[in-house]
Symmetry: C2
Subunit: 215 residues, 2 copies
């Protein structure tokens, strides 16, 4: 069955976004530091239709994270906005040609018609929970894997439910001190982790874990 | 000047002890999992006067962590007990021959006469703060480095104050879900981190950082 793979940049103190996230600053204060390791990479720029960039130990990590992904699930906060959609709903942070290039299933409390973007990205809004979003994503993925794009809240729900198969943390050596903590609300998570890969790269350490549900 | 070196085992979700620490269970619920990687090692057993044990990728890490240490600082919670010492004060969790083999300076609110143990360990109780404890430890270390033994609270104080020079996290692939979080109360920490070493070993990943104060 298609695996659910979760790859995310995290500060050493465990935050995946800084404090005070806004529409203008979706990464929160200081949050841009979490992504400095990737945005200059040739592999990342190529995936976003840009030329040039650096090749280093992170290249293979980024290439592998993009490989064999057939669909994406994410939380509403990651798509953008909050509360009911309103008359003229915002299309989120991702622009006309979002970087997903797959069907994307968004876990939200608020129903909305699908949104079709360029480059193969469609946004489908799922109101009946994480399990349903994952099932729809698996079906859409056509035998490929499903990427969990975040953010922290929906990632915690998937982790707690034992539904994540692979978790890769891009650990960035900064202390944000506050923000969205990835590993929170997990007191009842019954999962086993096994470290399968450790890669040191400029400005980041990539830790990959196999995640399995404790039966 | 003698460096302050901090080496600690931490769960992937950031806890250095489990919830509900007691005199009988100083590591808290599930906390013993954080130390499984080390207690079977020949290098650790030798340092504790025991024979036998395993040699693996963690061996050099443990040996280096014990090298060139001339004194130790720790928090009261790490020594044992809480509140005023009373008439017949408890000598803490460490037994007659504690594993430190150096002068140990304990940051506490409660004054107490020094306690001399076997094997070169003396416990000195410091009531005027982390800076004073570090100065006394540096003086006692005779040119060697000072080890910060924990726990989370006093480590946060030293980190926040920019006084730690080297931090090594032994990251264990478990989620404790609750307990003593290492990286907390650090919103005002002005430190820069640089990852200097990454070592993958059975049941643990060792991440070492150079810590410097942002001027």
């Amino acid at each position: 069955m298609a695996r659910l793979r979760f790859h995310i940049s995290m500060s050493l103190d465990g935050f995946v976004a800084g404090p005070n996230q806004t529409e203008e600053n979706p990464l929160g204060e200081g949050g841009e530091q979490l992504h400095e390791w990737v945005i200059g990479l040739e592999a990342w720029r190529r995936a976003h239709g840009l030329d040039g960039g650096e090749v280093n130990e992170s290249t293979e990590v980024v290439e592998e994270s993009l490989e064999n992904i057939g669909a994406t699930v994410m939380g509403r906060n990651m798509f953008g906005g909050e509360g009911p959609w309103g008359e003229d709903p915002w299309d989120g942070w991702w622009g006309d040609d979002p970087p997903f290039h797959t069907p994307v299933f968004i876990v939200t409390h608020h129903a909305r018609e699908p949104v079709v973007k360029q480059g193969g990205t469609t946004f489908t809004f799922v109101t009946d929970g994480i399990q349903s979003a994952l099932e729809q994503a698996r079906e859409a993925a056509g035998g490929k894997d499903v990427a969990l794009a975040g953010g922290a809240n929906v990632a915690q729900q998937y982790l707690q439910a034992g539904l994540i198969d692979e978790m890769q943390l891009h650990v960035v050596p900064v202390l944000l001190g506050a923000g969205a903590r990835l590993f929170d609300n997990l007191a009842d998570a019954k999962v086993e982790l096994e470290c399968t890969s450790v890669i040191e790269a400029p400005g980041v350490t990539h830790l990959t874990y196999r995640v399995s549900e404790v039966s």
